[in-house]
Amino acid sequence: MLELDEIKDLMQALEHSSLSRIKLKFSDGTILLEKNGSPTAAALPTTPKCEQPVPRTLLNTGSEKIEEITAPMVGTFYSSPEPNMPSFVQLGTKVHHNTVVCVLEAMKLFSEIEAQTEGEIVEILVKDGDFVEYGQPLFKIKTY
């Protein structure tokens, strides 16, 4: 195969090239060189960016409005911080802009979702453990 110095030269060459890996086959073996970081970085799934949702108005009857809180990212829906713990909100709960209404789990991280509106929860549209899509309605809120 190759001498140590030759392998070092190859490593140098790879480092300064745009390639991410080099594989060489010899009669007596194989050498595989892979650049640190670059392949994994490229393969990295970008985390769904979690901005807080913008409530969508469904119904507007003057004094009373029904709005929806939608999922700002994909993820698994949880209504409480931990199993067997009380839910963040229930039907009838009055929420403010920064009230946490649920958490969504994606890539082992839990994101807290804030109501971003003021009113009362009138309908919960998903169940614990449901996988929700971006933009999927989670709650209906009656605003005043």
Partner: protein, 334 residues
């Protein structure tokens, strides 16, 4: 940038993953008792996961921050507060200059870890920032923190700085936390109820039938003789069939040995390098971190598993840690 120690708490010291490669000359590994919590704290603030953190024990410290600082707290629940507001765990928290953070006594678990973005400005001793208190080396002056100590911190990397300014841009009064967090991993309520999984020790086969049975069925209580070196347990007496003459053997974190009085000792982070008592079992690496979160009077149950299963659980946990690291890095970047 620094942290001022207003009250030190019961036992607060700087710990990282440990001082490896020197047991052959009698220098202990030391390091965090619950390394998973310690590593997670570092990951959350964008540090190298081996960076030194503050390990706090049973009764927490009171700390003043002299500059805006990005921190993360993980591990046992000490109900920390700043200006009367609870500081959440397992997520990045931007603390404003002048804020005073008070930890109470531990409600769940025994030890918590505080990582600061950039890490502490101390020189590693033999490759580690861990405090080896008995020998007086490493960490902050080789000792547990005291009132009036001032811990300087290193300027955080770009991730840490970005996260800090992003969180502070929300107009925090004294602190602002990220709107995302890591789940409770090995310290979930469900996991804390499970028995400690062990593999058979080197001398397991020499114990009599009754002892083998008792060890796994009766459960033990952690006595007050429980520190960073080891935990002495109380419960059913254990003995070998015949007195054993053994040569001192290498031991590790989680080794469970039975001295002549018959009450088990679990060796922890500050364990000596060799020991001469019969070893009945070895707690698996993943569960040693859970033992670290147990305190005197807690009950401990053991469950026998195979070496293969112990290894599988270890690999699974490391994969989980790797995934967390990737996910958090992506969060810090966007």
């Amino acid at each position: 940038m620094s942290l001022q120690i207003i009250r030190p708490g019961l036992l607060t010291s700087i710990q990282d993953t440990g001082r490896y490669g020197y047991q052959k000359i009698g220098v202990l590994v030391s390091g965090a008792m619950d390394t998973y919590s310690m590593r997670l704290a570092n990951i959350l603030v964008g540090n190298n996961e081996n960076e030194g953190t503050l390990e706090i024990t049973l009764l927490g410290p009171t700390i003043e921050f002299t500059a805006d600082t990005l921190i993360a707290v993980t591990g046992g629940d000490f109900k920390p507060i700043i200006d009367g507001m609870p500081v959440p765990y397992m997520r990045p928290v931007a603390v404003k200059a002048g804020a005073i953070m008070k930890f109470g006594s531990c409600q769940i678990g025994c030890r918590a870890y505080i990582a600061v973005a950039g890490g502490f400005d101390i020189n590693p001793v033999m490759g580690s920032k861990s405090t080896y208190i008995r020998a007086g080396i490493g960490g902050f002056k080789g000792r547990a923190l005291q009132k009036g100590d001032q811990l300087n911190t290193v300027t955080p990397n770009a991730f840490g700085q970005q996260m800090l300014s992003q969180l502070l841009s929300r107009g925090a009064q004294s602190f602002a936390e990220a709107r995302w967090y890591i789940g409770k991993t090995h310290l979930s309520t469900e996991n804390l109820r499970k028995p400690i999984r062990v593999t058979a020790g080197l001398h397991y086969k020499y114990f009599d039938q009754q002892s083998k049975y008792s060890f796994f069925s009766s459960g033990y209580t952690i006595t007050n003789n429980a520190d960073r070196m080891g935990y002495r347990l109380k419960g059913e007496m254990l003995k070998t069939e015949k007195p054993l003459e053994i040569i001192s053997e290498a031991i590790g974190l989680g080794t469970i040995q039975i001295p002549p009085q018959g009450m088990p000792i679990i060796l922890m982070a500050d364990h000596q390098s060799v020991a001469g008592y019969p070893v009945i079992a070895q707690a698996i690496a993943v569960d040693a971190a859970r033992i670290a979160q147990m305190k005197p009077n807690d009950h401990i149950h053991f469950k026998l598993i195979s070496n293969e299963e112990g290894e599988r659980l270890f690999i699974e946990m490391e994969k989980y840690m790797e995934n967390i690291k990737i996910a958090v890095n992506a969060k810090l970047q966007n």
